[in-house]
């Protein structure tokens, strides 16, 4: 279907048969575990065409055949009301798939089979991977696999994906059915609906432009349910306007509910034969949930978990940062000393190596941050955090769902803003997007680490923690403000599945860390590199005679021009320049300061230069950190805000608002600090 699929195909190199498989399933069924178990690390991560939802593809060489596996987004249904559902559905329709593997949580059979009925109605060749058989057994229930297979008309492979049990079976089953046509199951709806369906189908049959991939019964079922995507389909097939109108007129609001009910009736009939339910009891997860969602203990527990996570990030990244720092400092010195053409040595040494070093040094903490967030997510705790925070979020007009994007914002605001798509209500979503940049992303950490480390010594960790809290407070304040002014109304009902607790797997956390951290590395290689070179250029101009980064350069001219605005915050032109550059990417702030104050490309060097410099002292470094925390994160965030809000007006509002807020807070910090004469 897409170019990417072809690339993977070429990689499989031998002439064995290639079977294209998609992996579908509800959330929390162990889908990514199965995907990893099948493909190992041979995965390609890209985006679904036209959208920024992550698409994972992998391949697997088996005995005598090759599998190309696409991981579909986890969905409960294929009704195309959410982006994830749309992606999954159109991939199944258009993907020329040989087999769709639906992974099912065996301990939740009935709910999971709902998606199966939709897949089968769509005409996909389905294999059920019946996962978590161990959990099923623990709950003393049992499933008659043969009966289930017979009733649903598809092969069923029992498995425990986390222990890699049943994987071979699954591969062989895929191979054995991939060329067989499965008969679509036919769920018979009420007499009224069947009559309407027959009418619609008749019309559909008379339209020649409908591709043969589309089952007319399936199309008819979607049409009468007012499926939001059908209109697009029909238009794409150049169906006559009057026919479209006629077709759409068959849709009725209550048909969908009836169709859902009938599907469940079908499923209940299946499960009554194939499933023996054990006794329900409180599980370990429930007992733990009672504690972590406890009315008094819930929030304190959440806070210390977060505190522990930050400590982890710092502890693990310091040695790596020191090593990178030594390497780049050495490299920069080597270049400056050994390249005889003065400006080239300076460009390579001071500009590129020095600037890149200043950026790459923050790879360890950013990777560590992604690692720990992924551990928390895998363990199941993150969902509880959303639950715990719901109580508070409700107070300022949002709910627990909005909390996960906020938490993700600590990693990077770009994916965090994208993740707001899971919010159904548009007003909730707008507020959640607009407050997200106040969640301090990983790129702001370099500034905090540098200055808090330099001027606050042992209290550095506490200062940084307080900055994060300040970001949250400003976000909350902004949310209340927006809810009271531009986005009046109630937030959408909150409903969320809580996954059972798992022991987090080192491997999946590592994979997630790498996937997300890679984005940072890419950014370092492109936008940040260009930014660094630009800063170097301004710092070296005009040619001849000026001291690099000195007060006579173009860079200084820019900074001096804006300096008056920032003088009340305690910033001189050099800080102003760094902050302006930070509009492109916050990572550049430290790099730019490095260029200006000098320091030979190593963090140690920058530190020494700053300490020796009278323009930097604890109080203005504090207001600098506050300003960095609150003003626009980066160009990428502005872009994604524009895309997700669909409005330049709100994007510009966010940029202006956050800059003004940043200025005000930094002003208060600096002026109050000066007044109180804390000796900073």
């Amino acid at each position: 279907m897409s170019v990417k699929t072809k690339k993977v195909k070429e990689m499989t190199l031998d002439d064995k048969r290639v079977i294209e498989v998609a992996l579908a399933g509800n959330p929390n069924t162990g889908k990514s575990t199965l995907f990893n178990a099948l493909t190992g690390l041979r995965q390609k991560i890209g985006n679904w065409p036209g959208v920024t939802v992550e698409k994972k593809e992998g391949k697997k060489r088996c005995d005598g055949f090759n599998l190309i596996i696409t991981d579909l987004p986890g969905t409960y249904s294929l009704s195309a009301y959410s982006l994830d559902e749309k992606i999954a559905r159109s991939f199944i329709i258009e993907g020329k798939l040989d087999v769709v593997v639906q992974i099912i949580d065996a301990s939740n059979l009935e709910r999971n089979l709902y998606l199966t009925t939709m897949l089968r109605e769509l005409g996909a060749n389905v294999v059920i991977a019946l996962n978590m058989m161990d959990l099923l057994e623990e709950s003393s229930s049992s499933i008659d696999v043969n009966k289930l297979s017979k009733e649903m008309g598809v092969p069923v492979v029992p498995m425990i994906a986390s222990s890699r049990i049943g994987i071979d079976d699954l591969e062989n089953t895929i191979e054995s059915i991939y060329q067989k046509e499965q008969k679509p199951i036919r769920i018979t709806y009420s007499k009224e609906i069947e009559e309407v369906l027959a009418n619609v189908q008749e019309i559909l049959m008379s339209i020649p432009s409908i591709p043969s991939d589309f089952d007319s019964r399936w199309l008819a079922i979607q049409i009468i349910q007012n499926d939001p995507e059908i209109l697009t389909f029909l238009k794409n097939w150049n169906v006559n306007k009057t026919i479209i109108e006629k077709l759409l007129s068959f849709g009725r609001e209550d048909y969908e509910a009836e169709i859902i009910d009938t599907k469940y009736e079908f499923i209940t009939n299946v499960t009554s034969k194939a499933l023996k339910r054990g006794e329900e009891k409180l599980t370990r997860s429930d007992l733990v949930d009672k504690v972590v969602t406890h009315k008094w203990l819930g929030i304190p527990i959440f806070l210390i978990v977060m505190w522990g996570a930050f400590q982890f990030v710092f502890a693990i990244s310091v040695p790596f940062m020191e090593l990178i720092d030594m390497l780049f400092g050495w490299l920069a010195g080597l270049l400056v000393d050994n390249i005889n053409i003065g400006w080239l040595g300076s460009l390579l040494g001071d500009g590129i190596v020095g600037g890149l070093g200043a950026v790459l040094i923050f790879v360890p903490p950013i990777f560590a941050m992604f690692f720990i967030l992924s551990v928390l997510e895998d363990s199941g705790y993150l969902a509880r955090a959303a639950f715990v925070m719901d109580k508070i979020m409700v107070k300022f007009g949002l709910h627990g769902h909005s909390f996960i994007p906020m938490l993700l914002g600590f990693g990077c605001n770009v994916p965090a803003i994208m993740s707001t798509r899971s919010l159904k209500n548009n007003k909730d979503r707008m507020i959640t997007i607009l407050i997200n940049p106040f969640m301090s992303c990983g790129a702001r950490m370099p500034v905090f680490i540098l200055f808090a480390g330099l001027f606050f010594g042992a209290a550095a960790g506490t200062v940084i923690f307080a900055l994060y809290i300040l970001g949250i407070v400003v976000a909350i304040f902004t949310a209340i403000l927006l809810r009271k002014t531009f986005f009046k109304g109630k937030s959408a009902p909150f409903i969320m599945e809580l996954p059972p607790y798992h022991t987090p797997k080192l491997r999946s956390a590592t994979v997630a860390m790498w996937d997300k951290g890679k984005m940072y590395l890419k950014k370092a290689g492109t936008i940040i590199l260009i930014g660094v070179m630009f800063v170097w250029f301004l710092a070296a101009m005009p040619f001849g005679g000026v001291e690099y980064g000195g007060p006579d350069t173009w860079l200084a001219a820019v900074g001096t021009f804006f300096e008056p605005i920032f003088r009340p915050l305690g910033f001189d032109w050099r800080i102003v320049v760094a902050l302006i550059v930070g509009f492109v990417a916050k990572e550049l702030v430290v790099g730019a300061l490095g260029t200006i104050v000098g320091g030979g490309g190593s963090e140690e060097g920058i530190k020494d230069a700053i300490l020796a410099d009278e323009g930097f002292y604890p109080l203005n470094s504090l207001s600098l950190m506050v300003f960095t925390l609150l003003y626009v994160p980066c160009a990428a965030v502005i872009g994604v805000m524009r895309k997700e809000t669909g409005s330049w007006r709100w994007t510009i509002f966010a940029v202006v608002y956050s800059t003004v807020i940043a200025w005000l807070f930094a002003l208060v910090v600096f002026q109050l600090g000066s007044l109180m004469n804390l000796g900073l």
């Binding site: 161990d134 370990r284 504690v291 527990i301 505190w307 502890a315």
Partner: protein, 163 residues
């Protein structure tokens, strides 16, 4: 029934004792931590806080305080004849998590001090970082050994897929 009663009495005592010991450590931490920040800001180099055998810190103190409170609530839950396994587990897992964190910090400290020879580590000794682990470990370790089956799910051999 008698045995069940015994187990729960047993756990009740454990939770209360564990909670109180952690509570003392936590309160000491918070008070001394606050004093240390004050002393540092006044640049008092040699003060009696440094003589305490563990490095005080407000946040570490609060973290221990919360573990202690989780166990304490668990104690009252048992008193009401309800299942307190969750409280025991969560408190213990949190404490174990912190011990792991301090072990990690110890390892990186050793690396920073000896392999990298960082300046900040001039006055540092292994014991400075090890103390924490020594102070925090006994109770959670004891709970872990004693209530292993309540806290951790043991992998049972499944027969689900053998047939």
């Amino acid at each position: 029934m008698e045995m069940l009663k015994n187990t729960s009495n047993n756990m009740k005592t454990s939770l209360l004792a564990g909670s109180l010991i952690f509570l003392v450590v936590a309160i000491t931490e918070v008070i001394l931590g606050a004093f240390k920040i004050y002393a540092d800001s006044k640049e008092l180099e040699e003060h009696w806080v440094n003589a305490i055998p563990f490095p005080p810190g407000i946040f570490t103190g609060l973290a221990i305080l919360i573990v202690s409170l989780v166990w304490l609530v668990g104690y009252f839950v048992i008193k009401k004849d309800q299942n307190a396994n969750g409280y025991l587990s969560v408190g213990t897992i949190l404490a174990l998590g912190f011990i792991l964190l301090f072990i990690l910090i110890l390892i990186t400290d050793i690396f920073n001090a000896y392999a990298l020879g960082l300046e900040d580590y001039e006055n540092w000794t292994v014991l400075a970082s090890l103390r924490w682990i020594i102070f925090l470990s006994p109770i959670p370790m004891f709970f872990t050994i004693k209530y292993r089956d309540l806290i951790f799910t043991r992998k049972k051999k499944t027969s689900a897929l053998q047939s």
